[in-house]
Symmetry: C2
Subunit: 314 residues, 2 copies
């Protein structure tokens, strides 16, 4: 047999999404608790944080304090903050609040787009240009995140060509970055690399990230596959926060600490300190008041407690 | 960018270890419940099942019925059953019970070997020859499973050279197969492929499997890495059963259904039916009387319930 080693990037740019995707379905936290969580996250060394959404407070009460939170971000140096918006009105709010790195979600499947945003995919794509102009006008940028990029909870598998069409249209309309979202946590490594390849071929110059949920245990394997395919921008959530209240026990986003844990062993630089991240997970767990999905956090971190295998054979 | 695809084997030989590694720390089940679980597992199409251990009933009360269980295996056609033994006395018991595919565990680290088997590694290795003879004399085979192959809960990282020495000595003494065990669930993809490479180089002709625990969320990523390194023999446990009672919430073995789930998408043949496997996980869950760690099982399988993402944005 020949020597084999995994080919991975030398550095990865992790975006912490626990403040947004993680908290959006939780009971609303007081602003002080969010700032404590944010402080703990900034202390990890993470350089990109998706900090909130500018969306309807009725739809997402947990993020109704987006403007107040944005007003506090000047406290945190050296971190690139971004915010999610659902339409041009949200983009105006975000820019007015000083957040100019915008993310806008478009669902690749019509059924999900209707359920999530109240309009079909084409109508959602049609707003990209206006949101991009708002971002660019403020000196910022726009990332289009394609939801249901692999699978839709209503329609099943999303054809690769469909997702590619949405990404191509988004770039044509002014998107600076793309991100593919495995919204319901169903994709798997080989499907990951095939879609990434197709999207990259269609928009070769556009930075491309991935957003995985670990709902079926394949989240970190999907991340590994994406890195092997050359992706260096990954979303992850402290503690794996982001579970859906309609699926108790189901995991949320891939856990940032699990990602950083294996990347450190692979000598892939993230700039993130694992111990600080585990501490941030504990802060987050206290804030939300329930156990987080992350296995690494539940296992108590890198080292097994002494004697943990007594009585166990392998 | 160039086209990229994951290079994986066309087929993988999964060994279901839920009956042994999964049950060994549970409260003892009645024989009838084990047979029900076994029947459900056989119905999945899995071709290799590690069915029990012939060890001290005081040390592992849950597997005290090894002889009785072995006497029932004639009911199940077309499945290759194996059993774990801890010493030559256990090997004699297994062979007398009609099980001749033996597995013998040697810990690569002395501290774990002493804690788990009451003797240092060298003394454990010294028994390989006698156990191999017993297996071969009965027309069977011996697999040596190296525990703490990557990490030891007492000593930390196991030097690669140490694990390689143990595997080489085992093969010299008569082992027909090797398996590397991530006993405490700490290894990560790059460490996986590096150790596999070193062991294969030392024992190029000997079949080599892997035994991962998903304690820190990297289990399926480790499996992906191992497959890319050319491994085709993987241990996995239905429902991810095998958690340690000293680490509540920690996951056990990698879940067979999560492995089969992504392998199916990758068109890697396993011969295992996913729906039958999820049914077997439900049978197992009822038998042990508590929730299983498998995320896929908890998520209800392949498809998300309709509407699961209502209110969620990505």
């Amino acid at each position: 047999m020949n020597e084999f080693d995994l080919v991975l990037p030398t550095a990865v740019d992790v975006r912490e999404v626990g403040m947004r995707d993680g908290l959006q379905l939780e009971d609303p936290l007081p602003l002080a608790a969010k700032l404590q969580m944010l402080e703990a996250l900034v202390a990890t060394g993470v350089r990109r944080i998706e900090v909130t959404s500018f969306v309807s407070p009725r739809a997402v009460p947990a993020l109704a304090d987006a403007d107040q939170l944005a007003a506090e971000l000047h406290q945190f140096d050296g971190v690139h903050f971004s915010a999610l918006v659902a339409n041009p009105r949200g983009a105006v709010r975000a820019v007015d609040a000083g957040l100019t790195s915008l993310e806008y979600v478009v669902s690749a499947s019509d059924s999900h787009s209707r359920a999530n945003a109240g309009r079909p995919t084409a109508a959602a794509v049609a707003a990209v240009g206006e949101i991009a102009e708002l971002a660019h006008g403020a000196g910022g940028s726009l990332e289009v995140i394609v939801a249901t990029a692999w699978d839709c909870p209503f329609e099943g598998r999303t054809p690769i060509a469909r997702t590619v069409d949405v990404t191509r249209a988004a770039v044509t309309a002014g998107a600076d970055h793309l991100c593919l979202g495995d919204t319901i946590g169903t994709t798997t490594p080989v499907r990951v690399v095939r879609l990434l390849d197709a999207v990259r071929r269609a928009s070769p110059g556009t930075p491309l990230g991935v957003h995985f949920h670990d709902t079926r245990g394949t989240g970190q394997a999907n991340a590994l596959a994406a890195l092997q395919a050359g992706v260096t921008q990954l979303d992850a959530s402290v503690g794996g926060l982001g579970g859906c209240p309609f699926a108790p026990g189901a995991s949320g986003n891939i856990a940032t600490e699990e990602l950083v844990y294996w990347l450190a062993d692979a000598e892939v630089a993230t700039g993130i300190d694992l111990d600080a991240l585990l501490a941030a997970a504990s802060v987050t767990e206290r804030a939300v008041g329930h156990e987080l999905p992350s296995s690494l956090h539940r296992a108590g971190g890198r080292n097994a407690p002494r004697g943990v295998v007594m009585g166990s054979v392998v």
